[in-house]
Structures are given as structure tokens and as C-alpha cells.
Symmetry: C2
Amino acid sequence: MKSSENLDFLFHPQTIAIAGVSENVNKFNFGLKFLEGLTQFGFKGKIYPVNPTGGKIGDKIIYSSLRDIPDRVDYIISAIPAPYTPQLVDDAAAIGVKAIHFFTSGFGEIENEEGKHLQQEVIARAQRGGIRVIGPNCLGLYCPRGGLTFNYDYAKTPGSVSMISQSGGNAAHCIQEGTSRGVYFSKVISMGNGADLNESDFLEYLAKDDETKIITAYIEGVRQGPRFFKALQAAAKAKPTVVLKVGTSESGAEAAVSHTTALAGSDQVWEGVLRQTGAIRAGSIEEMMDVAVAFDHIAAPNGDRTAIVGIGGGASVILADEFSSAGLSLPKLSDDTRQKLIGVFPSEAGRIFKNPVDLNHFESPEKFFAALKILDQNVETDLLAIHVAFDHFGLISKAEKEFWVTAFVQLIAQISKEMTKPLSVILHSYSSPDMKILAQKAAVELASQGIAAFPSIRRAALALSRFVGYHMRRAASPGSKRH
Amino acid sequence: MKSSENLDFLFHPQTIAIAGVSENVNKFNFGLKFLEGLTQFGFKGKIYPVNPTGGKIGDKIIYSSLRDIPDRVDYIISAIPAPYTPQLVDDAAAIGVKAIHFFTSGFGEIENEEGKHLQQEVIARAQRGGIRVIGPNCLGLYCPRGGLTFNYDYAKTPGSVSMISQSGGNAAHCIQEGTSRGVYFSKVISMGNGADLNESDFLEYLAKDDETKIITAYIEGVRQGPRFFKALQAAAKAKPTVVLKVGTSESGAEAAVSHTTALAGSDQVWEGVLRQTGAIRAGSIEEMMDVAVAFDHIAAPNGDRTAIVGIGGGASVILADEFSSAGLSLPKLSDDTRQKLIGVFPSEAGRIFKNPVDLNHFESPEKFFAALKILDQNVETDLLAIHVAFDHFGLISKAEKEFWVTAFVQLIAQISKEMTKPLSVILHSYSSPDMKILAQKAAVELASQGIAAFPSIRRAALALSRFVGYHMRRAASPGSKRH
């Protein structure tokens, strides 16, 4: 078992060789796709395509072998067929490469013994050559600061969330989900079979990485249980660490073995591990990013007492249920607060000055703002949540709906600047095609202003309860520093 | 306690008077909004605006009183202030009106005794006059066959799903959610305080209504417990009956009282009621519509053994977990099925011929179709689910993604025509703004072809488990007819 290593070198190569780039432009030329992806993403170093056939791609020479490259090579992306990988590793060792990412699959994850033996052979050769391996069977690294990506269109903006993923598809999903919510990434690691560098290596590294403020992880199973437990404990002590553990069902565990060789372990054991280490459990990629949104965008609250405000009686009932069921506290508003609210709004049928506060309809931005200020200044609540129910805007035309949504977003942006309590926004009930587009625009606009916006009541309740719970546990434990 | 009544007359008025239409065009002129909504929706009968001020709106005379209308009036929509409603009821009784919908709020739901007394008074006068009341404090009726609506832009297509809702906003949300998924409605009833006609009346009616094949209900609480229990039992025996029961938390229950006077009751009691009556419980509006999508679009399966097929190893693990956790069975594929699948695809690394079947990447429509045919014809599964993971399409350009999504939708439409087993489609992992638009187009296209499409893995698993569970219970109980 190795001690924690500084893996910074993986994320900042100056030169990359891509093995398996052919001259043919077709959908199975994955080497070319990596080449194009890195180029379009703006990787600042040099890229050297490699293929035994030689040739040219654009104005780049395709080198027949790694050994022909007239430069130092820091990092290799391999998209060649599995049987040729042992030779690739030997060549890499010969020219002093320190890291290889194997996009190549056909190793430990397939159903015959051949793949497993090949994987052992490749890893043994890499270790002899002093090379660290990412994968095999994975998409590799996304790191905006290092210019690394595995897709064309990921955000170039670096952020403070990192992710370890045993699935390339779910890493991709996570990046898109996060980015669309205003969460940007420091390092995303699609690690596949984890035959050399595994989930524990990356977790130990991210726990100490100053650029990473929040760790997220999609885990199918782990290879070194006790080491992973310690790594998770250290990570969760250092920063919010959110884990999506899958493969919890029999069918899921079997799919995990076929997918990335991971042994899933029992769900009960995992529940215990996550609780004991202080990690935060997420139930889906979306939930994991919801929690990241909260930690990334919202300041630490002083407690869990939440005031909810918005328009809609039915929505208020559902909000109350979901927030309570997630374990958040919705205190009754004090007489003082209620009197102040009644002072702002002429007493009117249908308005409910309880918590959730149902303003019934949107009378004026000034009054909405005034209500928020009252809730911000009262002593009985710690957090504020504004909800906007799109489909509930009955009796108005499409143009009016557009007007309202735009007005709401502007208003919330203004409000968020003046509130002293942590604020989040819940966008919900946008079912019609028109409203979906409006809601998406609103979400992107709020995200671009660094406001935490959640796309459903339940997801908001779950994410906020985990976020608040983390801060309350930290506050209760005097040894821990406040995030 | 009244016996079940035929309420058809509510949904097919020939003439409607709208009380509270003023000449002023502003956002609080709700009477005008109802008038415009019905007109644009294409209500075929006559509409008479009423307001003591008189005047004209467009080319329509505003009558000073109901008594001045030179025609029989079948139905009244009241948008006048609460204090004037007793007089309105007396006038209505005098001209022989049979039904009034009170959009008007300010009755039993507000915090003072005045509102409660006013509500009692209005209902007493209505009963003396032989008038049935919808509401007060609600949006009323949406019934495409009758030309009734409470919004401009609802679908004019009639369908076979009906809904009872104690929240106008949630009724609106439900209509939009359903319509966007290809579910059309027979009758949606926003019933507010239910001071005269209540949830039991409407449930008894819908249970016997031939136009209603599936009943859905948003319930905050009930007024006549034993009657509701019987009504629910009868409804659930006659047709799939899906209930979203809210107000299950203390805060939620309090919000429900303020919202529509409903007494929520304990969650445990409700869990028992729903189980004993054979109703299907939903956890949100979206879940309720997911279940409606299943019953509306998918034929009854012979069992719960599901075969899942699509692209993505990580997605396969999550699918297996979520389907298992929802109680669906994912049987191992037989050697015969596996051999047939291997026959279609050249043996290749990364492909997993287990269940879920992970095809790794999209090689050709013909091979995908062939795989589905093999799964359709095997003896070890009863249902088919195809999943499409949008964000998992790594390494390809936006144009390629668009091409793939379009190709997939066309392929699924073709496949759905040839499958003998019930088929559903799971669209998931569409997080980027581009992909959200693509996914929405795909969903609308699939919905328009009557294909059951679900927008997330979890929602698909929950809806299908409820759908399949219903049919398995029916199959096990010889007295029940098959839906």
C-alpha cells in the first residue's frame, strides 16, 4: 500500500502523445476525437499523434512509434486496441513518460480471463517503467487549468469542485449537470478499472489539493477497503465530500463488475462507512451536483431554520412536506414577523403569512423585496428559500409568463445581493415546452450570478438538508474548522 | 351524506355567466381572464359577462345583474369579491342556475371567523336554491370535450385521464406535465375548499364516468373520511386510481388548512387507506403523471420481468440499482438470448450482454433493432425498456449529438411498432442547455407517437413498478377485470 502521492503532474502535462490516431475520419477513430477535443479546448502544450501506419492528420505528422517523437513526452492517451498496449508501455518507459491514460478497453472488465491477464501484464510493465496509469477503460482527465478534456464542449472556466468517477458516462453527465448550474470544476477523473491509480489514490490527492474545495465521487466499488475508509475520513474532515455509491442491488453489483471490475459491497456496509467518515451520501448524479451547488454557492448558515417564500398554496403544502421530510426545520413565524408582513401587504384573502409564506400573487417587486427583508432580519430563521412555480401562473398569456419569469429573475438577483442570510432559489413546475425553456433560461441566468438554484422542490430539500447538516455537525464539533 | 350523483351537467354547460368582468384590462381582472380563456379555448356556447357597473367588453354587453341576462344560464363563474357572493347566489337561484364555480377566495381558508361564516351562508343559500357549488377558492374545470378551461393554452385534445385537485396551481402543473408527455385529459377539477361538492363527490362520479379511464387526485385532506374511503375503494376497483396525498408533515398540514381548509390526517393512516383501497400512491405531481403515462401508453404486461437495453456502463449500474430498488425484477438473460445477441454483434470489448444490456456504442440501427427483437422474443422477460443517456455521448460534436438523438427517436418509433411486449423509453442525463432542448424535442416526438417516455431513471423505475404492480395484483385477483 502506497502512501499519499502528489499527483499534480498528471493534470499539467506540457506534451501529450495520442496513440491510435489514424488518418481516417470516422466515428470509431477515438484517437482523433481526443486530438480534436484537446485542440479545440485550447490545450497549450504540444500534441503528437502516433500510429504504426504513419501518415498525416491536418498539418500534424503521425509518428509510427512513441520512440520517433523528437520531444519529451509527459502524458500519453492510448486509444489503440488492447493487444498492442504492452508494447506501447515499453516504448513509453523507454522514452521516460510518467503517465498513460488508457481509453482502451478490453481488459479486466470483459468476461474472459485473457483481458484480466493482459491488464496485469500492462500494469506490471508500467510499474517497472515508473509509469502511473489512469484506467484502463475510461475517459481520463478533465482539468480546465491544465487544458485537459475528453470532450469538445466542456467549460474552460476552472472551478473548485473535483470529481472521481468510475464511469466515463457519469463523469460526463456530472460535468454537464454541474456546469449548467454554475458549478465549475478543478479536476474530473474518469478512472475506469483503476488498475494502477485507483479511487483511494485520487481521494488522498484531492483531500490535500488546494484547488479542490469540494470533492464528489461516483463509486461502484473499491479495491482497498481499509485504505479507502481512511482516505474518505481524511477527505471528509478536510472538505465537503459527496459520494454517490452505486451497485447496491444484486443486478447493479453484477453490472458494476462487468463495467469496471469494481466489487460493490453491501449497501449496509456502505451506509455505515459514509456515516462514520462524515461523507455526504447522494442518490444520483443530479443530487450530487445539487449538493455541490449548495456548497459552492451558499455561505454557511447558523442553523437549519428555513423560511420559504413564494406564490402558490398547493406548492406551499408540498414545500412544507418535502422540507420537513428532509429534516429541515420550518419554524413558525413570530407575531412580530407576521405583523411586519401584514404591514407590507394590505390584508387580503388568500395570502398566508405562515411558513411557507404564500404571497398568493405577484403584486409588486417592491413588496416582494420588502417581505424578503423582513424574513432576512427576523431572529427565528437562519436560511431563506424563494420558490417560483412556473405552471402555477394560471390565467395569464405566454407573453405575461415570460415577463413574470424575467422580472422574477431580476428581482431575485437584486435580492440576493442584499440578504445577509444564505439564500437559495427553487424553480419548479415547469412542464410545458415553453415553460421548460423559460425555466432553463432562468436557471442559467441565476447560475451565472452565482445564485444556488434548484430544479425541483424535492431536490432543493435534499440538497439543503445535506448542506445544512454538514455545517451543523461542523459547528457542533469544536475541533473542526468551519468550511 | 349524499349518494353518488351524475355530475355530467357540470362539464357540458351551454351558457356561462361570468360574474366580475370589468371593462378595465389589468392583471387583477380575473373575470376577464376567464372570459378570454374560454373564448380562445373555443367554448361553443354563449358567455355572458356580469358586473354591477355594466358597460361593454369588446362587443359583449356586461350585464348589471344575472337577472338581466336574456337567456337560460347553465353555469356561473364567480370572480367577484367574497362579500357580494350571497347576493349572487340568490340571483342565480332566481334564474334557475344549476352550478356555480367560485374562483372567489376569502372564505373558510382565511384566518378569521368571518370567512368561515360567509362560506356557510353561501353554501346554505346555494342548497336552498338547488345549486351545486365548485369551490370556493379554486380554478374550476378543465374539460376539453365541454370547451371548459381555466387557462388560455391548455390542449384542446380530450383524453382519458381525469384529475381531482385541492390546489389550482397543482392542477395547472399536472395538466402541463401530462400534456407535454402525451397524456390528455377528460376532466380536471380544481375544487379548492370543497364546501359543497368535495373530493368524495368527484371521486364517486369519476369512478363511474365512462370517459375517464385513469383517475388522479391531489389531496390535502378529506372532509368525510368513511365516505372517501368507500369512494376510493370503488374507484380503485374500477380503474387505476393514483393519489398524491400531501400535508403529511406538521408544517404541511398547517399550510393545507390555510390553503383549502383541508384536515390532512396522519401519514400512517393514509398509507393504510391507500394500500387497503388498492389505490396507487404517488410522491409528487410528476410521479403521478409518470404513472398516468404508463397506464395511458403501455399495454398490460404479463409479469414484472424487465429487460433494459441501451448505451452506457455507468448508466447500466444505476438502472439496475433503481429498478431493483423499486421492486422490479431484472432477470439474468438465458444462454440462448446471450448467444443470439453475441451473434448480432461481433464479440467486442466493453459490450455487456447481461441485463441491463450495455451496447457500449451505437453501431447501427439494424443491429440495435435486431437486439430488441431478440429481447422481445425471449421467454425470460415481460417488458422492455430502452434507455438513452444524452450526456454520455462523449467525444462527439454537437451536430453528431443532434444526429444521434434524431436517429434514436426514429429508431425507437419503428421499434415500438414491432414489439409484442410492452415497451417504454427512458431519456436521461441531459444536463447541458443544448441537450435539454434535444431531450425535450425527443420527449415530445415520442409522446406524440403514444410512446411512454420517462425523463429520468428513477422516475421510470417508480412509475413502471407501480404500473406493473397494479397489473400483477389484478391478475392475482380473479374477480377483477383486466384493465
